[in-house]
Amino acid sequence: MNKKKITLKAEGLVGGYGGMNILNSIDIEITQGEIVSIIGPNGAGKTTLLKSIFGLIELKKGNIFLGEVEVTNQSPQNMVMSGLSYVPQERNIFPTLTVKENLDMGAYLRENNLKESMESIFSLYPVLNEKRNQAAGELSGGQQQMLAISRGLMSDPQFLLLDEPTAGLSPKLFDETFDSILKIKELGIGILIVEQNAKKSLKISNRGYVLVAGENRLTGTGESLLINKEVANLFLGGQ
């Protein structure tokens, strides 16, 4: 079963909120099985970029292709059906629903193989299995983040868009989260990740994009960005 890997490709994205443009011209691409990091200062437009790709914000210019198919300005629902999944930074679980119900909702648009997906998620995060019947709002911060990612996986996506999945996590949980992201990559899923910890995230990334003021500032392989002077000055504390 060696299916051809699909590439998600965004070109010349321009968009924002109301009349104001936040994204001025952004190109980005990711292939299944890759980890791609987006880094940049606060307010650079990283979250806006993810939302725009996912169809939550209307693009004024630019195109998004999934393989050969154009998916520019599709509804979030169509994006889910096309194989994208978006995990927002905050408010990314349904707090009064149980863990299991949250996962059910992640699979809302699917009919088959739910059991299988749920089993593989429980092996990724065994603690979610233990707490499957507990209200999601009662979980710890780290567990809620695991649940948020799992909810995103339940739609069986080809690409997972993660917005700062480690925000506010302890070093131990940080490492656990990154470990699980590497495992998700092994499943052949492309992971587009926005991270504050540029160093650690570039280390596990195939490629990285540095976004400043809604434009691509730098692009390159994870390693090349890690040793780049400008990146070091901007984000890595000048090592």
Binding site: Q77, M81, P88, R91, N92, T96, M105, Y108
Partner: protein
């Protein structure tokens, strides 16, 4: 003691279960659409009058008219949503609230034009009752109302708990943006909410008509206790609304129980009954605005 049961506690529970049918809808609609639906009482009235027409036209009991009334309640709810609320989905909450006030006025006027302004009853004469114990009599109708309300509440519970659409409804009530991101058909969820809210309101109207009488303002008059129940339970929490409704219903009836003060004077004159719901609502809003079951804040 039996007097307390026969004339105050039990009627309080009946009133509470009628309120519950309305308050579940108010609470669900608030959770999903984020606005206080002020026309909800008038949906009850509409349901009551649809049943009244069936009763007079076909000479059936109002219980037999429940299905027709539910169909009518669902129809009018979906129509109202399409015409009066849907255009304002992205607008500020206050726009929807005002729109629902307008709907409320229109519904009442339509009811007055169609069915007249007089009081009506489903049946005249003394309502039959049975002796449960010595000095403890229950009206047969109260038993039916209680059974009917509880079964509907239980069905709603099963729906919310076990069906995909029911879970999606609770999910959207938790966070509508995340529901959209997850791929949930949000418009379908909204329609389902109107179907449930509209049906329960129609039945609540019939039960209220059976317990008391019909008038074009019968539902509007229940708006205060409905919202008090929803707020008491935690707005957006249907299970809370049920508990809130029972508490409001019993509190309203008990407020005029004469036994509390030892003398033969009621605690409050029955004329102040609605004040009780208002009082509970204000106290909750001041001291615990999220309600007993931690709902959303207004």
């Amino acid at each position: 003691m039996t007097e307390l049961f026969t004339y105050y506690l039990f009627p309080g529970l009946i009133l509470g279960s009628i309120y519950a049918l309305g308050a579940i809808g108010v609470s669900l609609l608030f959770g999903i659409l984020r606005f206080a639906h002020f026309a909800h009482g008038d949906l009850m009235t509409f349901g009551a009058y649809v049943a009244f027409s069936m009763v007079t036209l076909f000479n059936i009991s109002p219980y037999m008219a429940i299905p027709a009334s539910i169909v009518g309640g669902i129809g009018i709810s979906i129509l109202i949503d399409k015409v009066c609320y849907r255009p304002f989905r992205q607008s500020k909450t206050i726009v929807l609230v005002i729109s629902s006030l307008g709907v409320s006025l229109m519904l009442r006027s339509i009811i007055q034009i169609f069915w007249g302004v007089d009081y009506e009853v489903y049946f005249s004469g003394i309502q039959p009752s049975i002796d449960v114990a010595e000095d403890f009599r229950i009206k047969i109708h109260h038993i039916w109302i209680m059974l009917g309300s509880f079964s509907l509440i239980f069905l709603t519970h099963l729906f919310l708990k076990n069906t995909k659409l029911g879970k999606a409804m609770r999910a959207m009530s938790d966070d509508s943006e995340l529901a959209l991101i997850t791929g949930i058909h949000t418009e379908r969820v909204i329609t389902a909410t109107w179907i449930i809210g509209g049906s329960l309101a129609a039945v609540a109207g019939i039960f209220l008509g059976i317990d008391t009488q019909l008038s074009p303002s019968m539902g509007w008059d229940q708006l205060l206790p409905l919202f008090a129940a929803a707020i008491l339970g935690g707005i957006g929490r249907p299970y809370g609304a049920i508990a809130g409704a029972m508490i409001i219903g019993v509190a309203e009836e008990l407020s005029s129980y004469p036994g509390f003060l030892g003398e033969n004077a009621p605690l409050l004159s029955p004329a102040y009954k609605t004040g009780v719901a208002f009082f509970i609502m204000v106290v909750m809003l001041i001291f615990k605005p999220t309600g007993l079951f931690r709902g959303r804040q207004f």
